[in-house]
Each structure stands twice: as C-alpha cells, then as structure tokens.
Symmetry: C2
Subunit: 575 residues, 2 copies
Amino acid sequence: MSKKIVIIGGVAAGPKAACHLKRLRPDWDVTVVDQDTLISYGGCGIPYYVCGDVSDEAELRSTSFHMVRDAKFFEKAKGVRVLTGTRALAIDRKARTVQVEDLESGEKKDLPWDRLMLATGASPFVLPIPGTDLDGVFTIANLHKAIEIKKRIARGQVGKAVVIGGGAIGIEMAEALTDLWGVETALVEFMPQLLPRIVDWQMAAMLKNHLQEKDVAVYTGEGASEIVGDDQGRVVAVKTPQRTLEADLVIMAAGVRPRSDLARDAGLLVAPWGGIVVNRRLQTSDPDIYAAGDCIATVNLVTGKETYAPLGSLANREGRIVADNMAGIPTTFDGVVGSFIMKAFERCIAATGISYETAVAEGFDADYALTAPSDRAHFFPGEAIVVYLLVFDRRTRRVLGLQGFGVMNDSISARIDAAAVMIAKGATIEDFMVAEMAYAPPFSAAIDSINAAAYVADNLCAGRLRKMEMDRFLAWMEDFDAEPGWMALDIRHPLETGPFVDKFGEDRWLAIPYNEVRDRYREIPDDKTMIILCDAGTRSYEVQVFLDHIGKKNTMVLSGGFNVIRRIGVDWLPG
Amino acid sequence: MSKKIVIIGGVAAGPKAACHLKRLRPDWDVTVVDQDTLISYGGCGIPYYVCGDVSDEAELRSTSFHMVRDAKFFEKAKGVRVLTGTRALAIDRKARTVQVEDLESGEKKDLPWDRLMLATGASPFVLPIPGTDLDGVFTIANLHKAIEIKKRIARGQVGKAVVIGGGAIGIEMAEALTDLWGVETALVEFMPQLLPRIVDWQMAAMLKNHLQEKDVAVYTGEGASEIVGDDQGRVVAVKTPQRTLEADLVIMAAGVRPRSDLARDAGLLVAPWGGIVVNRRLQTSDPDIYAAGDCIATVNLVTGKETYAPLGSLANREGRIVADNMAGIPTTFDGVVGSFIMKAFERCIAATGISYETAVAEGFDADYALTAPSDRAHFFPGEAIVVYLLVFDRRTRRVLGLQGFGVMNDSISARIDAAAVMIAKGATIEDFMVAEMAYAPPFSAAIDSINAAAYVADNLCAGRLRKMEMDRFLAWMEDFDAEPGWMALDIRHPLETGPFVDKFGEDRWLAIPYNEVRDRYREIPDDKTMIILCDAGTRSYEVQVFLDHIGKKNTMVLSGGFNVIRRIGVDWLPG
C-alpha cells in the first residue's frame, strides 16, 4: 500500500533518503520540504567555492554528470516532490501532519504523513559577544552566505579578514581567503590549540606552524571578545583580550548546533545539548518519525558515549539507512569513530577515533606512539615524511585513535581509513601490527606506517621503549636550568649534530653517531638523564635498547624526533 | 641464558628478524648468512632503479637516513653478525648446526644454532624453453642482474626488448624500459590477460589498453615458445606461436618459486609446490626451526586454503614475528588476504582478497559490483574516475575482494587498505556500506567509493539491480546479429548520445535522457531486451528501478558503463 512520506530538510540526509526510498518503494509519495531555495548542495565544498577552485556555486549542487539538483530535477529524475522556500512550522503527531509555510506567499498548509523524517541539519553557533550582527560578519550557514562572501571579495571590498574558530571550516576559510585572494587573514581560536578535541597538541602545533608559513596569523588560546563596527554598522575589527585585529570581513566558524526545535516542540526526545535522540534504526522516540544528519545525537564507538558528528558523509549514509528502515528493510547505524580529514594549504591533517587527551579524560589507561615515517619507499622520488600519532589503551592493547599530518596527498587518507574500520571493530595493537596494507615502492614503505606505529606501541606496552614527552623536551630547550640533570644524546650524522654541539655546548649536547654507540658508549655519563635524539625516534629506540642491555638505563627517547620538532617550528635550531 | 641464532637469508625477512631479535634479546648471538655479497635490499625497487628514478643501486640497500646496510652496518649499528658470500649447504638437525661455505675461499664450516631461521627467499622461474641461457636473457633474481641490465641499456646496447610475463614485475620492467630509455618493448603473457589470478579481466583489459597507449606492445594469451640467439650466443628474438619479436634484451618475469631445497633436504615439511610449511607462529615441522618470507607457504584468509604470497612487505612483518616467537613472545601470523598494488605509467591498479574468477572457481556463490565513481568530490579540481570491482558472496553477503584501477595517486590505496583489513576479518556488504571513510572534498566523495560499491552489491543481492556483463555487451557491439533482440537504451545527454544513434541506427540505439524517462517511457519497446547505458551505471540503475515499477522489466544495466568501456578501449566509439 502506498504511503505518504514527508522529509524536512533538503541538503544531504533528506534528499539521500528521499531518492533511495523512492527506488525501494517507487509507489510511495515522497515529499521533501526545505526553507531554503537552494538545496542538495555540498556544504563541505563552500571553502573551495569561496577560494575559486570551484568557480560556480551551481557546481556544488550539481550531480557528477552536471545536472543541477533543483526541485525540477528531483521531480523529473527521481520522482521526488521538493517544496523549496517552505518552512516546517510544527509537527502534529496525533493528526500525523506537518504544518508548513510558503515563505514567499505566506500561505500555510498541513502535509499529511505516514512516516516523517527530520533532516533539519545544524545552525552555526553565534558567539554571545557584541557585534555579531554587524555588516560584514558571516557564518557559513548556507550557500547564500558563501555567495555573498565571494561577491564582496571579488569586488575588492575585503583587505583584511578575521576568522573566529580554529576548527576545520575556520581553517579552510582562512586558506580560501589567503591563498587565492591574498586577503590578510587572522584566525583566532579560544582553545589553546587548533582543531581542539580532534587532534592532539603536537599535530595542532605542526598545523599552526604551516598556516603561519602561509601567512595566516594564528592566535590560539585567545577568544574573540567583541566585534567592533563603524558608525555605518560595518565591521572594522575583532577584539580579543590580548589585541585588536582589523577586519573588513569576519567569519564566525565557532562550530554548529543541531536544529532540533521542531523535534522538541513535538515532544520528541532531545539531548540536553540539542541532538535529537535516535535508536540504531534512526527512529526518534516516535517510531514513525526518523531523524538523520547534523540534527541527531549519535554514539562514539570508542567511548560508547553519546556524541555529535555533523558531517556530510555521515548524513548521506544515515539517509540511506532511514530509507531502508522506512521501507521495511531493517538496517542499523551503530555510531561513529569520528573519521576526520582536511586539506590545509600544502598539508593534510586527519584523525580517526579519539585523541590521547580525550582518552585520558575518558579514563583509559592511555598512551600514544608518535612516529615520523616516510609515506612511501624512502628511495622513491617524491617520498615525504608523515607524522602519525597512534593512541592506545595499555591494559587492553586496544587502539583508540590515529592521527596523521603530512604533505597534501591521499597517503594519510589510506592509513586513516584502514585504521577507522579497524577501530570501529575494537582492533588491538596486534591487529595493527599485521594489517595487510598494499605494498609497492610508489605507495608505501615495506613496513607500512600503520604497522610501524603499532610496533612502537607494542614496544611501549612491553616497556622496551621509554619515551620523553615532546612538550617537556621543548620546555627544556627553552630553559636548560629547569632540568639541570638532563643532557641530549644526539645520534644523527656528525654533519647534523656539529652545529648543535657548537651552540649548546658539550655538557648539554653529546653527539655519538648511531653506528658508533656500540664502540663509544663509555662516553655517555651515568649521572645524567640522557635524551636520545634522532630524526624520527627509530634509531633512538635501538640505541636505548642497547644501552639498557649494558646497564645504562638513564635514557629517554624523544619520539618523533627532529622530524616533529622541525614541523612544529622552534627558534633555537642552529644555522 | 644466551642463545645462538642462525638466519639463512639476508634480504628482507632475515635481517628484520635478526635486528628485532637482537633488540628483544641483546645478549643473544645472532648470525645472518647470505650467499650474495649485496644484502638487505628493496627488491621491489629494482624497476625504479632500472628506469632511473633511483639513480644508484646503493639507495635500494640504504636506510632512510642514508646508511648502506652492509655487513659492517649490521655489526656496528645492530650488533648482528652477517656473513656475506656464504652459502648454507646443509642443516644438521641432530647436531644443530648448519654447514656453510665461503664462496670466495671455498672454506666450509659448521655454524651451531639453538634456533634456526630459513629466509631463503624465492628464485625466478626459468621457462622450460630453448634459449633461456643466451647472453642478454635476464631474470630479476637479484641486484647484480639489475645492475647488468641497466649497464647494457645505458651503453646503448638495447634497442628492442621483450618482457616475458605479465605480472607486476614484468609490467614494471616494461614501463622502466619504455618510459625513460625509449626501448621498443613488447610484453608477452601466456594467460589470456595481464595480472592473471590477481585481478579480473575488466581491470586487466583497462591496464592493457593503457600500456598500449604508452607504446608497450602487449600480447596476451601468447606464451614464449623459444628464445632465439645469433651465432655468438646473443639473444636476437623471442618466438611465440603467433609471431617473432626482435630483442636485444629479454627479461623473464614468469613468476618466482620458493627456495626450499635446504628445508626439504633437512627433512622439514615442504608443500608439493615448494613452499615450506609453517604454523601460525612460523615454526616449521621442527619447532626450533622457523621460516618466513618468500620461501614459505601461507594461508589465504578468504578461501582458508594454502597459498603463496612472495611480497617484501609480508616478509618484513613475518620476520618480526619469527623474532618475537624465538624470544618467547607468542605472536602469530594468521595468513594473508593478498593485498596488491602497482604503478603502471600514469595508472594505479590494486586488489585485495580474491578475484571474481577465483571466487567462482572456489565455489562461492559469487557476484561482483563494477562501479566507476569519482575519486574525490566531483566539483574538486583534479577529480578523476576510478573503476572498482567488488567481489562478494550472495548467500553470506561476505565481501571476498576489491579491485581498483585509476590515475596514479594514493586514492585507490586508501580503499584497498581499508577493504583489506575488513576482508581479513570476514566483513560483509553491510560493513562496507557503513565503513567510515574520512571525508572532505579534496579526498573523497561524500559517499565514499567503498560505500558506493557496497550499495551496488546490496542492490544486486536484493534483486533490485539486474546487470549485463560487460563482455557480453562488448561482443554484441561487435556483432548485433548475435543478439537480435537486444537494444541499447542510452540515457546520457543528447550531445553524447546523438553520434551513437547516428552510427548504430534508431532500431539499435534508443536515446532518452535520464531526466526524461519518467515522461517518455512509452517510447521504450516491450519486445526487446533493453541495455541501459550511462557513464557509470548509477543512473541506469535508477532508470531500471523506475521501469520495473511501471511494469517494463525487459532491461539490463551495463555496470561501469562508458567509463569502463572507454578505458578498456574499443574501436566502435563514434567520432
């Protein structure tokens, strides 16, 4: 028997559910309503539209075969009715109707439904500070905002911009403004690091350094306290407690919040923070009403706790699952591991699972391996160093997360994707040690980065490797007196170590090449804590094991080594 | 208590085991013997050395920090003794010794061991045909051969070359000869396709077409029957039953065979085809003798059957596991899924698990989804089509394999690696549908290729999608009379379909654009089998579902569509 389906929201989860459902149940009557006139667009592509990589906004709402996904397309190609410019005002669960308003005519009517789907998405968080309503202050709420931002830049009205928020969208927008348009751009992030809660500080520090190399002024640990306007109501600056940053354009990218008023008003269960509560079949507390996409609460598969994961890729997958279940095909969505990836100028940064910081906060017996391997065979042209951080639980040996930072290509993507599907299934260090990554010199090292990171984790768990935290080492480099008992044991090539010995002195910096340690270990003092240094940490580990064996146990290995230090950027490197 | 360890073989598994063991048990006495003088090299890098990407062979046997891994390096840096130019002659299991011969001095001696490791590798298969011993005929057995090949080319002695064998090494060598050196190169493969048993014919056909575009003459289904020499004993040609190919250089790359004579002579269990039999801890039938690398038999995790997987990446991982077990840390190697990847000129081809052909032969209720999605958001600059072939079992819905073919970057690597770790754990189509691949427009489509391939598999399993085999379609295009009841329903844009209608006629080629089918379906004849055609197969599926709904069930979808046809290369495309 034919059923009436109403879907509120026409960007990602909604259209996906509508089209899949129409294929499963071609005789059902499927209607999508959206308050916007532009629908079914790739919101994640907005920064690439603003920067000019995507020349026309219509490309963001076109199919891969270049048809614009407008209401007519959905009707003709998909058999789905779409009402644009139509706002859903209220859900009547008893009558099984939703009241909608045509925003142009003001006309209201009730749409009847047998099954309803909420795909109401998210709205950008507007900071509770003065000036957010000034002319020139934008959120990245929808395509219209993006079009307006690009228009202003193209007209030459933007010389200086401030981006508020150091999450993915903020960073992508900062790149878009700087890279193509040469807009002098500052980025402020309230938390002490970029991408807070997504990656650990080491990764964030390398990213920050790269943004600064690309002329983005980055201020972390510094929240916007006021947006200042002129007497015409146009933005002129952003104030933080530390400084005033001039701006013709301000982009607020301080995160998004689920749009769940409709659900709450209809008496559906909504989490205190706003996410619509759904079960594994994506049903709300009313089993005939489904929800998916940026408006729902989901489960983090690592912590087992409620989480929020507003991502276009998840919205699409969830949309298909809603359609399956509406059509009577039982399909479940168990939750997310939180896979994340982004391009930032010439770098890629990615993560899956939880960060070390989160793991500690969640009560895991957490530790991490920080490695800096080659992304392909070290003899293959174009090979580059990637930094990985593998988070694990010492007691269960479960892998909790993986983060990567390196040059902009798909190499990190490969490791993060493989890690994600393993972490989702509760994989251990052992699983990562034997993960069968496809090998040929143009694509990976014979020992893949994932395997190598797991080896380091294994060495840490077994107590064979004792590591020095990078932050403690960097602090020592700023103030040797803080730890007068420490000394560097630099095992790199003499050409590399020479300038360090010259600069920091032989009492701070002992240089013995890696392949001479077995002959010269007697030169290593016993009354100091020796910090073994190399480029990646691998050779340092070997030296530590040897020194342990001969009874010199006063060593710590700086994991990640100079490969990480150089990418974080420090001012004390000689030369 | 210190133990004596002898490891026979110094390329990959041997050195890896030696070094890891020395870190686990620094007081043990570890000796590696190898008959060669050059050891610990990346054999997989040989084609890149021959083509000049790697300028010096020493790079292939250097560390990432540019130290040559020779005997002295192993002694100084690793504490491992390496005897090069030393051949192991016989194992005395009672006396626990191995007799070795210094190949220079001819001196023989017995090395005592408490634990022995066989890492004897593989030797290239020499075809049982006349002429394999002619001057100018090479296998890629070791670095010396590679050095000699490069020398001859650099001296201008090679104008024409024939590569025998269409596996990875043969193809890589054909590229190396053609690409940098401009050598006129032919490649012959006895089996009907390139990369037999690794990928299915569709993928192999696209690869063949690309090699031909790059001026490699490829002859499949055509074995070398004789190598012809001149009266000075120098090679001049290769004969096949069909033709004679001139050659100054012949490379035999017809696969490798495990080197297991030592093991067999010592009474250890060896498979009939030559692989040394080991358990999950990589012990041979003598628990004090371990084996790893290209000389062992292992298990295919998809079929559960014995298999042979000679790969440097596996050898390294196995080497570490041997060391763990020797040192008393129980570690297991369960088997392989057979991950494979290679660069071929400007393309990447990769696979994991088993092919459709193999799955059918193994008795699975096998089917496959052939897709041709974008490798990243379709609006992102540089986006390209990748062809994927997902093999699955209809009854259990288990995914058995994934193959990819596309432009040369790491995008396919990401999908193959994620698939490999899932397939190793017995993942189903459902697991692939929800696999959480990291998404941002520069890296993937919102619906990742892996998810999309699983959707197609799901549609096939559910009977919602009926597909036409590509080979049947291509045969029909060569001879319409073979299937007089067939007709094409081309749903692409009129600009694309016009030339086809003109060329093949309206009675063979019906063109109705995708978004007009709901209005014009009455034009579709009921008395023909309609083959629905588009670029990838996605739109065709939607049209099939709609036509089924209205009662027109006389359709088949050409999966992969013109994206695959164009890459296979056909001569009937108009224009």
